[in-house]
Chain length 333, copies 4
Amino acid sequence: MLEVGVIGYGYWGPNIVRNFQGLGNVHVAAICDKSSAALRRASSVNHGVKLLDNTADLFSMPDIEAVAVVSPVWTHFEVAKEALERGKHVFVEKPFTRTVAEAEQLIEIAEKNHRKIMVDHTFLFTGAVRKIRQLIDDGTLGTLYYYDSMRVNLGLFQHDVNVVWDLAPHDLSILDYLIRKNPEAIIATGERHLNGLEDIAFITIYFPDNVIAHVNVNWLSPVKVRTTLIGGEKRMLVWNDLEADEKIKIYDKGVQVKSGQGVYDLLVSYRSGDMWAPKVDQCEALRSELSYFVDCINSDQKPFNDGEAGLRVIRMLEAAEISLKAKGKVVHL
Amino acid sequence: MLEVGVIGYGYWGPNIVRNFQGLGNVHVAAICDKSSAALRRASSVNHGVKLLDNTADLFSMPDIEAVAVVSPVWTHFEVAKEALERGKHVFVEKPFTRTVAEAEQLIEIAEKNHRKIMVDHTFLFTGAVRKIRQLIDDGTLGTLYYYDSMRVNLGLFQHDVNVVWDLAPHDLSILDYLIRKNPEAIIATGERHLNGLEDIAFITIYFPDNVIAHVNVNWLSPVKVRTTLIGGEKRMLVWNDLEADEKIKIYDKGVQVKSGQGVYDLLVSYRSGDMWAPKVDQCEALRSELSYFVDCINSDQKPFNDGEAGLRVIRMLEAAEISLKAKGKVVHL
Amino acid sequence: MLEVGVIGYGYWGPNIVRNFQGLGNVHVAAICDKSSAALRRASSVNHGVKLLDNTADLFSMPDIEAVAVVSPVWTHFEVAKEALERGKHVFVEKPFTRTVAEAEQLIEIAEKNHRKIMVDHTFLFTGAVRKIRQLIDDGTLGTLYYYDSMRVNLGLFQHDVNVVWDLAPHDLSILDYLIRKNPEAIIATGERHLNGLEDIAFITIYFPDNVIAHVNVNWLSPVKVRTTLIGGEKRMLVWNDLEADEKIKIYDKGVQVKSGQGVYDLLVSYRSGDMWAPKVDQCEALRSELSYFVDCINSDQKPFNDGEAGLRVIRMLEAAEISLKAKGKVVHL
Amino acid sequence: MLEVGVIGYGYWGPNIVRNFQGLGNVHVAAICDKSSAALRRASSVNHGVKLLDNTADLFSMPDIEAVAVVSPVWTHFEVAKEALERGKHVFVEKPFTRTVAEAEQLIEIAEKNHRKIMVDHTFLFTGAVRKIRQLIDDGTLGTLYYYDSMRVNLGLFQHDVNVVWDLAPHDLSILDYLIRKNPEAIIATGERHLNGLEDIAFITIYFPDNVIAHVNVNWLSPVKVRTTLIGGEKRMLVWNDLEADEKIKIYDKGVQVKSGQGVYDLLVSYRSGDMWAPKVDQCEALRSELSYFVDCINSDQKPFNDGEAGLRVIRMLEAAEISLKAKGKVVHL
């Protein structure tokens, strides 16, 4: 039975606690939050869990081997740093840190202390993303051409981060997982309309071999959209995460160019065949992710969504932020 | 009865001829195309129309007062120039010209010869765009925040222009018509995968007063999408041009920020009310546009989609092309 | 604080308990179920509630004023009868009883004992049905023409009731609430394919004044559909209960007939205007219903979804069953 | 070159003429219509075709081997009868005739004169219906369970036939083609609201082996729906004819029942796998049908959509009409 502590009991913390408790081989020993209202909420649903209002008390509990850091983004670095230094494994909510420098430092500390970092990129544990990765790995899509995601809805406006830091980490972690190349350049554009933070933004990421990614995030859309187009040489797919049943549709469609003599002889031929929607595993992604976190600790295995994965996302976010502030300046990575 | 000539009888030309013939006050006196196959097709459906294989013969017909230039984009300038110099009014398919310089020159020639230029921005004559313009003009949407359009499908690959010059003119002419401000900067990113021309591209346009526009065009999408989100301070709308009946949906939704003391006191309040889809005029846009062209000639009136409107679109396209070739460089206008 | 008991802790019981507990003015004093597994599940989430395996013990608790009967359909009559005779108000899950005779007897017993019956027609407490009722009451739809509902999905097959008794009570209670006329005749057709119970059925109900209702229920549909069309003289609406946001769409459409001379002079004119989707209250219907149940008890008020309402639904179900067994025989009511 | 005559040039006639003319091996020698306005319309698009205002003149043209009867339904019998007796093959628009007796008589006359009858059941020549037939024939769906179709929209009200005779022939011809069993009983319900003709109707058809069909037709629906569910033992499909690309979706879903001991031991197991949408041929169905008509004449082959097929549909329509008039009486066939 792994003893864990959960730091932060706001929006996401209760989900972490509930899923840890459902695993069977984990005991949530303590929940920590500065807000007494949050602790009251925790007490009403979690019986027998120690409720603390400071991290020091939690880190002093020697039986706790791992902590989940679910506090506000700007506290991630300090909390995770202390946890690692006190010998705890850490599970950190996305985005990993506020800066590349912080992420690099946490990775270093974890290595020195032989502790594990896992960054909460929950989408990588969904049936949909797992299936898409498989379709890429087994060659179904062929050489990747592009990844184009739209993630828009009304609100929720954040107080401390703009729409890029709020919504784009999902897409950046997914495309990092699917494309598996190092980005070469990032261009981000966007605008502020209400509280001084960008509420709409468009990010383009150039990858080697003509792969291009694009992410459209917006807090001011009247409708909720969670749709990603992925184009490959052989097939293309649409992932609509709001569909209850047919989240992924794969189209046996493509374009081929045959060279002729001279520019007007380029023959473009289109192929259009069946569409199919494979059955996608519907289990709760967070549960799978936390189960994997526990397994990594128990078997001393490095998670694939480790500090390095978190760092790669932060590198893109930091570059996007610089580009955005300069109204679309190209940032080379 | 206005006598007109039509130059170019490929994909779009037959629609021009058919709609001119349906107007009642226009006689299509001649159709000109270099291709004998095109002329054969013209002969089978248009009885009694003169079929010519060169523009010189057409321009020599003194009764012809106006010509529609529906030939390939790279010929627009030469054909329209000659037509204007021979005293004909011109209706030019989009995009108006290949360069800003060409567009400026045509406008000058037209003025000198007291002839009219109308650029075929057909979408401005659809019931949907007309309705959106009205919703902006009567204050329904409130101050504009953003225009975000997605225009993607599989093919048709062009031989001479990339996806930006092929698909974006629609959106650029529409947003010019709706936003009515001069763009300040353009950033375009994109990639080539097949025939050396960009097949996917993302364009951001910064306007004064925090208005931002974004256009997503793609020849390599497995599904056809024609959706535009428009956000305003008071209301937001979704225009889905593929819907048969409810093309425009207006959402009585919004966000308001009330300042408090300190950053964490910014209170964001959301408003969410009814949605409605106004009835949209379903008449054929091209017919309305050509009817308006004839009216402008007959009443010696300057069309709103004149050479200047065409030039504004070409200015954006030229800037987008420069930005695209430099992988997203900011181009100030 | 009203003391209540809940009889039956299978699929629906936990929802009843949770919502009672959330009301504030109700105390769930006891839960009763014959299954020890069900009681174990109840014990893990409901602390301090008495768990009983027989109704006699529950009825003996003098403080319990009301009971919710959430046990299998064939037990409703016996359980509710005993409860009423022991002086408890009863809240009975749909369908109220297995026969008209049972329903009539329960109503009589309740009256004699001055106890209240409320039948759990949850849909009547949804924002959608409330809004539709309002649109009828305020004349928006005009004279009603028809009610046509489709309620199909894959499974869940029941062991003891066919698809009519499983799914149609929802529609029958809704149309009873909306149409407010006495049905004149019922015709039900359907077929059995698997376990000897009808898995697909179509019910037509004739009402006075040319109002017609139709209900399509199916356990063997590959897709889930919950769509109802309601046509009125002035307007028509589509209620799609699976839509997250725009559940009700009202169409300003209609048809008018003007008599001319002779049959071929009937002039039919069509009207087609805007569509709008009013904001619909999204609160949990069961909570509203249970709150209303408590209010009715506390203020000694007769609920509108009382035993009579339950009886009207059972009358239609019984007639449908007779018709179905006779392969579509007309059953007059 | 087959010489044909077309009788009736209202809504459907022009499509018949255009498709005949596009075939290459057919010459439309004459068009006949009583209305001078119709003949004027015909003259403007069909050069060199003889225009007649009475059928006698047309039947006197010895070179005409076949006629298409596209006149009003109540004239089908007289016109087709005369045509057959004058030695012409006939292509008759749906519904074939007004009564079973008429249909039987036409079949007899055709046989005696060695002429062919083809009934215009256009849907049988669509890519969608062809694909569904193939999925049944190759065992993909398994044993058929049900066919459930919804065909509703606003108008167009007919003057001489109700919604059953107007819309249901499509579904009846399709289900006859797919199910290939003789119906045992028909029950039709419906209502009249405007011009004395039923504008909404629901038809159930019982077939042997527990196959059931249901058709929902409605002229008073605010939205257009053309959706058919087909359930089989192995797989189920949804055919949405309004979808541009993915008209047919096949679901690898099913239910199996394993007997246990006693009623409560019936174990129902659900299977839910992939969905796929096969590519469907998009060619114009009417063209294929007319081409097949010509082939049948040229090669002296009996069409599968012959008079017998038309008669089977009329038999169902006649029974539905009787049932409808008796408010849902069961009519055995």
